[in-house]
Amino acid sequence: MKTGHLQLQTYFNLSRIKGFFKRDRRNSGYDSRPFLIMVQKEITDSVRSWRFIILLIIIFLTCLGSLYSSLSNFSEVIKNSTGENSFFFLKLFTHSDGTLPPFFVFVGFLGPLLGISLGFDAINSEQNRGTLSRLMAQPIPRDFVLNAKFVAGLILLAIMFFTLAFLIIGAGLIALGIPPTAEEFLRIVSFTVLSIVYVSFWLNLSIFFSVKFKQAATSALSGIAVWLFFTVFYPLLINIILKGLRPSQYALPRTVYIFEKLKFGLVQIIPNELFSEITSVLLMPNIRSLGPLTTGQVAGAIPGALPFGQSLLIVWPQLTGLIALTMLCFIFSYILFMRREIRSR
């Protein structure tokens, strides 16, 4: 009797909730089906395009190359390792015999290229083909166009990076003959997620340029210019500034500390730097800190690997910074796109 009453009540509550959702949908005037259709179309377009196939080949070859270079003298790694915390699987991503950079460095280098090439003609090609104004005439909110482009890129990147990471783990299983530990697996997955965030920053940046510039070539070039600026010119600039500020050998420890802090702080706005800091901490559990440490801080520390949670805590600010940069790019392109008047061609 009592259970029946309860069931009835639950039923009523459920139906009310359902009704609420239905009403909500109707009031907002649109549903999400067109959005999914647009995302589907974007993914299909990308996968079919030559550009994506070429990129896929490049990334795949890179993955193979770095895997080869890390496995070719892996016996050295095994010989040199001591104790339980040797993290063989993580070494697959970070170790190299010197002929080719390891995988995580490759991602840091090729990621921007991947992101830029996925997004640089997102909006302006639709505009130039005259399809944007036709799309705008359909009963969909305007931001669907932008969001669909971004979400489609994100899904593609996620599939690609997870595939690569799992392929490397698989190759490692065969080569090493031992399964990864849970912590190694967690670290690898978080590295993969991080790579997706990092590349999606460049994707968003290039989408922003594609909203801003009418010509696809201009927007691609601007994306590459930003990438070059951050990898080549900005570090150079910082070096010049820091050279002038370098304290003398006999300066107070406090001054040296402040100088080191400044040196560390100035590079924190470079997305590549953020990425390489986070990945190195995540993939090398022995790293205990990113910024400068005073002797007092180091005193009493026991050398050894950090647990996953602690490594994550170290890079939390960097991670937040990278996500913030990504969001910033998206917000700028959003504002620019929503306020734009769309005319045919």
């Binding site: 067109p34 005259g130 036709r134 009963p139 969909i140 008047e341």
Partner: protein, 323 residues
């Protein structure tokens, strides 16, 4: 609600430039309305405002009883819009393009396909349905555009310069298709053009649009009556050719000229060979024919000069020309 499109006092400025200046007009259900004006008159801007794609600085409007400024998505459900120089996804077939549009309008996949096939047939593209749009000709694209607009079962279709770049026979066919649709399915059509002859052929009413202002609206007959009421009536004709010496009922051609000159309302008569031109205060064409025949002359043709869109167009554009 009789008028499907109601616009009152719309103004749209871009910086200092006034693209549309306090525009007001209304279009009834099932009407074919032509927005006529030179390039840069503000036709496209007006259409963008109607679709809710840009916001006017002031004024009120409603399309299908909905305010496109506040509710653009609802308007877009009921209004099909063919932009100027429409583009399609080039590496998709015509059919795939249509199905995509249909699905964005909430039609299910299977229904979308059926509907798209029907429409491709209707606009005469059923042969090319699986061909990539990149290989379509300009005329075929335009017809695909019409199908694209119709796939959402619109109450109103708005076409921005739909006939640009199509050859004359294609234009005629395309326009006939639009008119047929409008008549058969009571679809309201608004289209903009700077080519007056096309507008003249198909529109129930036209609005003449210059420099952001609607200078006149109405059907073509009314427009010319309204515009040229202050003008004299021009009649031209030809009589059976007679040499200058020969006489008909004792009258030479010169005599005829004098006789005509004496008629009531006639201002001026000129005769050149067998042709004559009469300028009169009112329309006296019937009287002239009766009179000439009663005098015994053979009348081979007689025509009252009607002011068409050409004259209307030129007149307005002259008036609006910078002084």
């Amino acid at each position: 609600m009789d008028n499907i499109i109601e616009v009152s006092g719309i103004t749209k400025r871009y910086g200092d430039f006034v693209a549309v200046d306090s525009l007001s007009f209304s279009i009834g259900k099932g009407e074919v309305f032509g927005l006529l004006g030179p390039n840069g008159a503000g036709k496209s801007t007006t259409i963008l405002v109607l679709m809710g794609l840009t916001e006017p600085n002031s004024g009120k409007l409603s399309v299908c009883g909905i305010d496109p400024i506040r509710n653009p998505i609802q308007v877009k459900k009921k209004v099909g819009y063919l932009p100027e120089d429409v583009g399609f996804y080039e590496d998709y077939s015509g059919l795939e393009n249509l199905v995509f549009t249909a699905r964005l309008n909430g039609i299910t996949k299977s229904d979308a396909r059926i509907k798209a096939l029907q429409l491709m047939d209707k606009v005469g593209l059923s042969e090319e349905k699986n061909k990539k749009v990149g290989k379509y000709s300009r005329g075929m694209r335009q017809r695909l555009g019409l199908a694209d607009v119709l796939i959402k079962n619109p109450e109103v279709i708005i076409l921005d310069e739909p006939t640009i770049g199509i050859d004359p026979s294609g234009v005629k066919e395309f326009l006939e298709q639009i008119v047929e649709l409008s008549r058969k399915e009571r679809i309201t059509v608004l289209f903009s053009s700077h080519l007056l002859h096309q507008v003249q052929q198909v529109c129930d009413r036209v609005g003449i649009f210059v420099k952001g202002r609607l200078l006149a609206e109405g059907n073509i007959e009314n427009l010319s009556k309204h515009l040229f009421s202050d003008r004299n009536c021009l009649i031209e004709g030809e009589i059976e050719s007679i040499s200058s010496e020969s006489k008909v009922n004792n009258r030479t051609a010169d005599d005829l000229q004098q006789e005509l000159q004496r008629m009531e309302g006639v201002i001026k008569v000129t005769i050149k060979d067998s042709y004559f031109f009469i300028e009169a205060v009112t329309d006296i064409t019937a009287n002239v024919s009766r009179y000439i025949i009663s005098l015994g002359f053979g009348l081979t043709y007689l025509k009252k000069k009607v002011f068409g869109l050409d004259e209307i167009y030129h007149r307005y554009f002259q008036d609006s020309a910078p002084v």
